[in-house]
């Protein structure tokens, strides 16, 4: 393996001009949209470079060009001192560019080492059989370097957590001797502790000369990790700055081109009577004796680390899983929820965490995606009323500011923020009283985020009960009236808005006695 000497970080008059990557005048058109309009990106060797911008700013498109998924229409790329034409991902990998995607796609029923060496399995001396021993050894070495000895190279990928799967992806990048690793939203699905470990490893690798391009929507991470920041907006290059010359406020302003004065537009609303209460909900192995109440107009923030059982709890309340024991009361009446159908009949709505896995009908249109649970309302006799469906969907498109050429567009072609709005529109059309949102702003740009927060706040104002799972501390603290902190399947604390601090949540979430 080739490691580079640490590069001096003496930015100034004699600026460090040792660029690992220089992309200039990059243009890319898609039918109907100019995705990239003469943009540039220059990454210094051995640094972490944050690429920032709202959804649709062109970050992903540029990265897809860099690793050879998309072809650029114009511009030039100099990588490691040489001008390169990146034809495909194989070329990119061979020359030392790797990407770790936001949505990881391991081969689930193959082992860690097979995943790392897929396509270039190491052969034994006879050149016929795969040398499992060699692969296991090399994998173990890389894992050790990343301080992830807890992963067994022969473990199947299905058995690993998201954070570990991510580490395996990094292992893979290192096994390719990558000089530049692109990470797209690497922290969107991992806990804070795992995140710290990831950052530590990234820092360590930069000292060995590896460079990183880091895409995230979480501001504090940018300032924790990045050396340089490049901002794109609407397919245009805005600026590249040293991270130390910027602050949170400036960055947001550059990204949106306007000032966001209030990130969490939580309004004080009159909180009504208890509307839904959970008593001693238990599902073996997932959660135990969970009890709390939600009042009308109240936003409950559900905090906790990954694996605390929050998503599973909400899925069970919604009837997606079966409850072992415990009771649910709505308006002081005991209800039985045997499946999502009963939950919907009881005016509940669940906006799931994983948009693609459990939310969207990807090959279907925006219209179909919105209308599906409300079809009953739009049928006359047996037949659907297409005209009124089109009308309501178009109204939703305008009201939720969903950016799509038409409601007949396939939902898979929309950006993450717009997909999320489609899902919210879908569930609000069912006229729910209890709205459960699981990580409603995960992987969504700043602008859409604040729109979604405003929406949630408005719903509370209308007297709806909101339960919001969120792993983002500022979001939980900014939006919630009560914060229910879960730890290993139990409710560790219920904290009022007035008394909450970041530390208090974290202590409870990590099971520390207070």
């Amino acid at each position: 393996m080739r490691w580079f000497l640490p590069s001096p970080h003496n930015w100034g008059i004699g600026m460090n001009n040792d660029y690992i990557l220089e992309m200039e005048h990059i243009c890319k058109r898609f039918p109907g949209v100019i995705a990239l309009d003469d943009v540039q990106l220059k990454v210094r060797r051995g640094t972490v470079h944050a690429l920032m911008g709202e959804n649709g700013a062109g970050k992903s498109t540029l990265m897809k060009i860099l690793i050879g998924i998309n072809k650029m229409d114009g511009g030039n790329i100099i990588f490691d001192g040489k001008e390169v034409q990146i034809q495909n991902t194989h070329f990119a990998l061979k020359h030392g560019i790797s990407m770790i995607f936001q949505e990881l796609s391991p081969i689930p029923h193959m082992t860690v080492m097979e995943n790392i060496y897929v396509g270039r399995e190491q052969l034994s001396a006879n050149r016929i059989f795969i040398s499992k021993k060699q692969m296991a050894e090399d994998t173990a070495n890389i894992l050790k370097k990343l301080e992830m000895e807890s992963i067994n190279p022969k473990e199947k990928m299905v058995n690993l957590s998201v954070a570990k799967t991510q580490m395996v992806e990094i292992c893979k990048a290192i096994s390719y001797n990558s000089k530049l690793i692109i990470m797209d939203e690497p922290t969107s699905a991992i806990s804070e502790k795992e995140c710290d470990h990831l950052f530590k490893i990234v820092k360590q690798l930069t000292r060995e000369g590896v460079s990183f391009i880091f895409i995230t929507h979480k501001m504090d991470e940018v300032f924790k990790l990045a050396d340089d920041i490049t901002v794109f907006r609407d397919g245009k290059f805005i600026c590249t700055e040293l991270a130390s010359n910027m602050n949170h406020h400036m960055l947001v302003e550059k990204m949106v081109g306007r000032e966001i004065t209030q990130m969490f537009p939580k309004e004080e609303v009159d909180i009504g009577d208890v509307y839904i209460s959970f008593k001693n909900l238990t599902k073996k192995g997932l959660f135990e004796n969970v009890s709390f109440d939600v009042r009308r107009g109240e936003i409950i923030g559900l905090a906790g680390l990954m694996g605390a059982g929050r998503t599973e709890l909400m899925e069970t309340i919604f009837g997606y899983r079966k409850l072992d024991s415990g009771e649910i009361y709505i308006n002081n009446k005991k209800v039985t929820i045997k499946g999502p159908k009963d939950a919907i009949a009881n005016k509940m709505a669940l906006i799931t965490e994983d948009r693609k896995l459990t939310g969207l009908y990807l090959p279907l249109s925006v219209k179909d995606n919105m209308i599906m649970p409300s079809l009953r309302r739009f049928s006359r006799g047996l037949l659907l009323q297409h005209r009124s469906i089109d009308k309501i969907c178009n109204e939703n498109r305008v009201n939720f500011d969903i950016k799509t050429p038409s409601i007949n567009q396939i939902v898979n072609n929309l950006s993450g923020g717009n997909q999320q709005k489609v899902l919210i529109a879908r569930w609000l059309m069912t006229d729910p009283e209890i709205i459960i949102l699981d990580e409603p702003t995960r992987g969504i740009d700043v602008g859409s985020k604040s729109e979604i927060h405003k929406l949630i706040s408005n719903l509370a104002k209308q007297g709806k009960c909101i339960i919001m799972i969120s792993s983002e501390m500022p979001e939980v603290i900014g939006m919630s009236d009560q914060i229910v902190v879960m730890y290993k399947g139990t409710v560790k604390a219920i904290i009022n808005r007035k008394n909450v601090t970041q530390e208090l949540i974290l202590e409870n979430a990590s099971g520390l006695e207070t």
Binding site: P31, R258, A343, I344, T358, P363, D368, M372, H386
Partner: protein, 329 residues
């Protein structure tokens, strides 16, 4: 720093005639192929574009097309049905043995025939939706079981001596149009409406688009799947019933290989095997494409064997073009 660059990405309005036209082609790709074939065949031979020949083509495909309509609905849910050809065979011998002169009223005979499909469909649907078998395996099981039942029931011998009213269903004409064509048109319109304009139909697409999301959305996935398999097998039985009328004899070997022709028609017509995408217009066009090519080659005296090769190549090319189209997006 360019603070002024606050405009949104430029969207090209798609109102011009050209882009509208390309949109239509995009949507109805297979229809364009069909029209091209029609023109080609009528240039190659003057026997092609006659009312009699065209009626023949449509009647020939109507039996497969009926099955294909059902299997399209199944494929949209990401399922498959391999048993439809066997259902044709079993229906044929069962319905023929209930269609002797003076035995039952015609309605009863028809209901007996359709009930064969109903039962097989219930079994398929149960195995897939409730026992959670992969559709390929479940219907492969019924495919051979049902064919065996057909042989057992008839002892492998044809069932003859059918009443005239019954043979009219397959061989007769109403207002000059062969009855199977009229049945096909009725079923096609009905299914098109069912899929596009009823809740059940939209749920079929939802399940194929994302089954997990469909469950969360409160859709009773099991019932919908069961209904789709029952519907498809019943259409296969209908096809077998008409075909038996047409040849005026119950044959246990009737419909061998039809399941694959039906799947081919669906796939050529743009139905996606990964689910969530498909239309009846497409499937009928797919069946017509196969029919026109076979008929054209018959008229041109092309060797029978070439027809098989041609069909295989069309399937591959159709799916290839479809995947290219998706890639371009």
């Amino acid at each position: 720093m360019a603070h002024s660059s606050n405009q949104k990405p430029i969207k090209i309005e798609s109102n011009s005639f050209g882009s509208q036209f390309s949109k239509v082609i995009d949507k109805l790709g297979i229809i364009v192929v069909l029209i091209f074939l029609l023109i080609l065949m009528s240039l190659l031979t003057d026997k092609f574009l006659t009312p009699m020949n065209l009626t023949n083509v449509v009647r020939q495909i109507s039996f497969i097309a009926l099955i294909a309509i059902g299997v399209t609905s199944i494929i949209i849910t990401t399922g498959i049905d391999l048993s439809s050809g066997s259902v044709v065979g079993l229906t044929s011998v069962v319905v023929a043995s209930a269609a002797h002169p003076g035995q039952f009223p015609l309605v009863v005979t028809i209901l007996i025939g359709l009930s064969v499909g109903l039962v097989v469909g219930l079994i398929n649907g149960f195995l897939v939706a409730y026992a959670k078998l992969p559709p390929f395996i479940a219907t492969m099981g019924t495919w051979t079981t049902v064919r065996g039942l057909a042989l057992l029931y008839s002892n492998g011998r044809p069932v003859n001596d059918l009443k005239d009213e019954f043979t009219y269903l397959g061989g007769g004409r109403f207002l000059g149009v062969p009855v199977p064509i009229l049945v096909l048109i009725a079923v096609a319109i009905l299914t098109h409406l069912l899929l596009t304009s009823t809740r059940l139909g939209r749920h079929v697409f939802a399940i194929g688009g994302n089954e997990q999301a469909a469950i969360i959305g409160g859709i009773n996935v099991k019932i919908v799947k069961l209904a789709v398999y029952v519907y498809a097998s019943t259409l296969a039985a209908l096809s077998g019933l008409l075909l038996t009328g047409r040849i005026a004899s119950g044959q246990s070997a009737l419909g061998v290989g039809y399941e694959l022709d039906a799947i081919a028609a669906a796939v050529i017509g743009g139905t996606s095997l990964t689910g969530g995408i498909g239309s009846i217009v497409g499937t009928i066009s797919g069946a017509l494409v196969i029919g026109v090519i076979n008929n054209g080659m018959d008229l041109l005296n092309v060797n029978m064997y070439w027809q098989q090769i041609a069909k295989g190549m069309i399937i591959v090319i159709a799916v290839f073009l479809d995947s290219q189209k998706k890639k371009a997006k």
